[in-house]
């Protein structure tokens, strides 16, 4: 598929005015990328790909200044003062960095949140942000319960679920609460296995191995995404059917994933970046929400697990099957 066709398909609805206009302007746009995650950053890569697809050339028409402060949002406060120097066209923040960026009021800020931006206070409403903030929310919270249900569908004997969560992630308590409630509804015991940031992930996994759970639920975030192969390997090793947020986890060996398409989300974010760079006001750009959710299932992993799974209950619903 050609790049242009792809962008039309994925981000078309948002890129529409941009495509209607010519790809003009040789101006070099500076995009400030702030994140509390650590590098390598899969989100930045997705965003970069989206910008490239929209005709931006890195170093020529766009340049990224990345600022990472893994696990320490407060450290990013210093960076806010750097924004005052005036040559920054756009800030893109993901995760908890967004909260810090509320101090920025005169530069457009694009966010990618799993939580609710209205609750976070960065926008007034989804339809009319009314501030210098807009972006995309993943609706992780709403999907948290659904993930438990799907895991139970494929593994009806599920009784105890290990919930592997990075506490460093914003909205993580809410997500845990939603998961817990859903577990109660489904008659599943939830074992909370928190860890904080990439440094603790190995310890976290070791702890997860000790809770004697039937399955593993991993909250989607950058740290777990980066370490998805490790986590998937761990799940297979412990014969735990695993559920993740995005299909990238399944590609790396996770059993199931349910969530919005990351690539689509970041492409859309890129189209918003394009529209803002072309002069549109972020306060008029509604916050985007995904409307398509992928259910991915890795049959290879299912076989490797060697346990009795009701794959047929999932297969006819799966949008992506890895075999």
């Amino acid at each position: 598929m050609k790049r242009r066709e792809f962008i039309l398909l994925i981000g078309g609805g948002l890129a529409w005015p941009a495509i209607a206009r010519a790809q003009g302007g040789a101006k070099l746009h500076r995009i400030f990328w702030v994140s509390t995650q650590s590098e390598p950053d899969p989100f930045l890569d997705g965003f970069r790909e989206g910008m490239r697809a929209l005709g931006y050339v890195e170093g020529k028409t766009v340049t990224f200044e990345t600022h990472y402060s893994p696990g320490n949002p407060q450290a990013l406060r210093k960076i806010v003062s750097e924004l005052q120097r005036g040559d920054i066209d756009l800030v893109v923040s993901s995760g908890p960095a967004t909260r810090v960026m509320t101090a920025v009021t005169d530069i457009p800020v694009l966010f990618a949140l799993s939580g609710d931006p209205v609750a976070l206070g960065v926008v007034k409403s989804l339809a009319h942000p009314g501030t210098n903030f807009t972006g995309s929310t993943f609706l992780s919270l709403e999907l948290a319960g659904k993930r438990v249900e799907l895991l139970k569908d494929i593994y009806p004997r599920l009784r105890k679920l290990a919930v592997f969560s990075n506490t460093d992630h914003p909205g993580e308590p809410l997500e845990w609460r939603a998961t817990l409630e859903s577990c109660r509804n489904l008659g599943v015991e939830a074992a909370y296995v928190p860890f904080c940031g990439a440094r603790e992930i190995e310890n976290g996994l070791m702890a997860a191995g000790k809770v004697d759970a039937d399955a593993l639920l991993v909250f989607p975030d950058a740290v777990t995404l980066v370490h998805r192969a490790n986590i998937a390997e761990f799940a297979i090793a412990h014969r735990l059917p695993s559920m993740f947020g995005w299909s990238e986890y399944c590609d790396a060996g996770g059993l199931l994933s349910y969530g919005a398409n990351q690539r689509t989300t970041y492409f859309r974010l890129a189209t918003y970046a394009d529209r803002i760079l072309r002069g549109e006001n972020p306060s008029d750009l509604p916050v985007m929400r995904p409307e398509k959710f992928e259910l991915a299932v890795n049959l290879k992993t299912a076989r490797l697990l060697g346990i009795d799974l009701d794959v047929s209950s999932i297969l006819f619903r799966a949008s992506k099957v890895i075999s």
């Binding site: 948002l14 339809a127 709403e142 999907l143 006819f316």
Partner: protein
């Protein structure tokens, strides 16, 4: 003269310009008006055709979009129809759930499906986001979706914006068997975007969908849809304007640019599909045609300008030349000739003008000759020569002839130097000339010291006799006053006058250019004889004169006298001397001295 010329030139300047302007304007208008008229008519017809064509294209595109949207909603309706084919029986909730999950898989736009049994109680609920439910759930029998579906089999709910942003609607389908219950699907209308975005009208035209109250449901720029109800104001206006128009309406589009739009109803759901195309693109071809026409018109105008200027110049140039020619002729430059070679009436006019000029020159020469002639001819004769030839023709008429003659001139001329004689003669001639002119008589000529005058020829007068006598008296008095002066200078010169009247032949005699006007007949001789008979200061008249003037002028008869050349004696009259001024003393002596000599 200079004032007149300046005035005349200042008067002639504006009309010349105006003639040029008139011709120029007329020719120009004659060429340009049909051109513009033609182009305007062409453009208006072209615009109408284009408008009709745009309407047809928009109609087709809007209809296509509407069909696709109906296909979208019909697809959901049909899929839901599968859910309500079989009546509910105990224990088949699980099967229904699988059906519902498969429906979700089949139709991405459906977010959740509720399956209700015949009592309106929810039995199965599956969702993409929320937890699925099976078994008896909430009672939805009073839900408008259930009521609507039961009444009409199919029910389309109003568009609602979730969190005031994403458009959703519910579609409910009731089974043909009441026992089959009702299926309600919640549909995310963001997915209609796929339908709408695929529609391109021309290059940049597009279609949008609004609901009955003007809320935006689908737009190629989905962020407008996500603004929820807030952005519906402008779309409500567009829907109203487009709906009110028959055919395509030219309105201001949602992006503030002028567009041509047409709406079509999607009947089932009660939505309006509006197809619009930017006016700039829709009318691009007619605008291009207008441009072509404009360029052609501009070209035509330039040509018309040049032609009109050239024509008007060709017309006014020769006229200006002619006018200058007339002006030069007026100032007497008869040798001026106009050179126009236009092979038309103007050249002919110039030719005639030149002929006229040459004839004027000849005429002017004649006139000049007459002026010179006047110096030698009696002025009346000269005038007559100038004005009439008939009067100068030889003819017989009654005339009064007056002869005057100086007395003692022979002795004077022998005694004095020629220059003294010439001075006396000049004074004498001048005096005679002045009197002649005064009385409008004709001076036939001087013969030394004698003079002959004619009255009633060639110019007729009312009372020739009286006029002749008065002239004679005046002549006598004038010459006598001169004579008095001469006498003082020692020259004894007198003057006698004879007047006679009778028929005579008058006319011109002579040869070539030298012509004299004279009278011939007995009366001339008689006058001459009477003059000879007259003494100094005396005026003798013949009986004819006497008979005519007796009442007005006192006369004294001198009795019968024998006149040389006449067989019988004639009665001669002397004009009463009482009218004559008193002679200075010594004049009697002078008369006495002279008398014998002249006789």
């Amino acid at each position: 003269m200079t004032d007149g010329a300046a005035q005349s030139s200042s008067c002639t300047m504006p009309p010349r310009r105006s003639l040029f302007c008139k011709y120029f304007a007329t020719l120009f208008v004659a060429a340009v008006v049909p051109l513009i008229l033609g182009a305007a008519v062409e453009a208006s017809f072209g615009y109408r055709d284009q408008r009709r064509q745009i309407s047809a294209v928009l109609q087709a595109d809007a209809r296509a979009a509407s069909d696709r949207i109906e296909a979208f909603t019909d697809g959901i309706r049909d899929q839901l129809g599968w859910m309500v084919q079989l009546p509910w029986s105990a224990g088949d909730d699980a099967q229904h759930k699988i059906d519902a999950l498969r429906l979700l898989q089949q139709v991405p736009a459906i977010v959740s499906v509720s399956l209700l049994d015949e009592t309106g109680t929810e039995r199965v609920f599956v969702s993409r986001l929320l937890l699925n439910r099976t078994g008896r759930g909430i009672d939805m029998s009073t839900d408008p979706a259930v009521l609507g579906a039961r009444a009409n089999k199919v029910w389309y709910g109003p568009v609602q914006y979730q969190r005031d942003s994403e458009p959703y609607m519910r579609i409910a389908v009731a089974g043909s068997l009441p026992a089959a219950g009702v299926a309600i699907a919640e549909v995310n209308l963001k997915l209609i975007w796929d339908v709408i975005a695929a529609i391109r009208i021309g290059e940049t035209g597009y279609a949008i969908v609004v609901d009955d109250s003007g809320h935006l449901i689908a737009h190629p720029d989905i962020s407008l849809v996500l603004r929820g109800r807030a952005s519906s104001g402008s779309f409500g206006r567009i829907k109203h304007l487009v709906g009110a128009a028959s055919g395509a309406a030219a309105i201001t589009g949602d992006q503030g640019n002028p567009v041509v739009a047409l709406s079509v109803q999607a009947a089932d759901v009660g939505w309006t599909v509006i197809a619009m195309q930017p006016a700039s693109e829709a009318f691009a071809s007619i605008r291009a045609a207008l441009w072509r026409s404009s360029i052609l018109i501009a070209f035509g105008v330039l040509i018309a300008l040049a032609l009109a200027y050239w024509r008007a110049h060709r017309m006014s140039g020769p006229i200006k030349q002619l006018e200058e020619g007339v002006e030069r002729i007026r100032t007497g430059q008869f040798e001026h000739r106009i050179k126009i070679f236009s092979d038309d009436e103007l050249q002919q006019l110039a030719l005639r003008f030149n002929e006229m000029a040459s004839e004027l020159a000849i005429s002017q020469q004649k006139s000049a000759r007459i002026e010179r002639l006047k110096q030698f001819l009696p002025s009346q004769v000269a005038e007559l020569v100038e004005h009439s030839h008939e009067l100068l023709e030889g003819q017989r008429r009654e005339v009064a002839v007056i002869f005057g003659d100086l007395r003692g001139f022979t002795a004077f001329s022998t005694r004095n130097e020629p220059d003294v004689i010439m001075a006396v003669m000049r004074e004498y001639y001048e005096a005679v000339g002045a009197v002649t002119t005064r009385h409008e008589a004709t001076l036939i000529g001087f013969d030394g010291d004698g003079v002959m005058l004619l009255v009633n020829a060639p110019v007729a007068c009312e009372q020739p006799a009286t006029q002749a006598v008065r002239l004679a008296i005046d002549l006598q008095m004038t010459v006598q006053s001169l004579a008095g002066k001469w006498c003082d200078a020692g020259h004894a010169i007198g003057f006698g006058v004879g007047v006679a009247m009778g028929p005579a032949t008058v006319g011109t005699v002579g040869y070539d250019g030298r012509l004299d006007y004279t009278a011939m007949g007995a009366v001339v001789n008689l006058a001459s004889r009477l003059c000879n008979l007259a003494k100094d200061a005396q005026i003798l008249a013949d009986p004819t004169i006497a008979g005519r003037v007796r009442d007005s002028v006192p006369l004294a008869s001198l009795g019968q006298r024998t006149i040389k050349g006449y067989d019988q004696a004639l009665e001669i009259f002397a004009v009463a001397p009482v009218d004559l001024p008193l002679k200075p003393p010594g004049s009697g002596q002078r008369r006495r001295e002279k008398e014998p000599q002249d006789d």
